[in-house]
Chain length 153, copies 2
Amino acid sequence: MNGFGSAFLLAQVGAHAAQRFAERIGELDLTPAQVGLLRLVATRPGQSQQAIAAQLGTQPTRLVALVDGLEKRGVLERHRNPEDRRLYALQLTDDGRELMSRIAIEAVAHERALTAALSNDERGVLRELLTKIADEQGLQPGVHPGYAGGRLS
Amino acid sequence: MNGFGSAFLLAQVGAHAAQRFAERIGELDLTPAQVGLLRLVATRPGQSQQAIAAQLGTQPTRLVALVDGLEKRGVLERHRNPEDRRLYALQLTDDGRELMSRIAIEAVAHERALTAALSNDERGVLRELLTKIADEQGLQPGVHPGYAGGRLS
DNA sequence: TATTGTTATACTCTATAACTATA
DNA sequence: TATAGTTATAGAGTATAACAATA
């Protein structure tokens, strides 16, 4: 029992969760920003870099180096859009899809390790409460500021 | 209902909580790092800069500019320790204590706004679950990585 | 010689603005 | 003229190492 409210605990445990996840995917030579990008491309393939930048809440210029690295690594591809040759359509390669499955394995292990103190019922309650907060606060599912890495506006 | 686990939700909601709190204290012309420092000095006055750096999980060199700014502002004071003149003993001024009470007011308002979607009972359950996780994960009460602001190691 | 606090240097990261090509 | 993507420049922020004062 201490004097800290749930808002402080949320920030503290949330930052810890992000750090531990970053360590895990760091073993796959990935950064949180790269995982955020890969996740968006996997969920909705064919989007332009600017569309993805808007969803990540980051600047379009940041995507250039981000996509460069993942493309050089062979997990992501730029395809020119024939209808508008200014746009790229980003898509995963076969290696990219395999990488995503390895990320998913890490995410499951991370989830289990982080909530090791909770029972299955408690895990469900926690997710329910957090979902309520996220909905009321207008947070977009699947994206969080850690992916952007930017400063506070 | 989405496919994201409670670990992801924790990171997402936690980052959102930290951002909103940073916005609030930003209206008091304070950064999260400054608040973390002030909180430690208020809780245990008289500590050296290196002792505080260790608790914040940051480098001692960062504290110089941090303390400089707050001292110039008149909320914090460096007192030489007579027993060991290498050490400073950091203490709040009267203005500093007044500032802390204003921070506390913001913290309460922040808490209420962030958990507006929950009932009082649910708020208690959330705090209980988060405390369980924080204890099991070995997190120190009252300090979180947002105060350090550093990169992942 | 070891330690506290300070300063100086280099490095990383980000944001802003110009530039190329396509429309 | 407007937009997608790229590149270049400058700025903020951090870490590392060297330095002065004290033990």
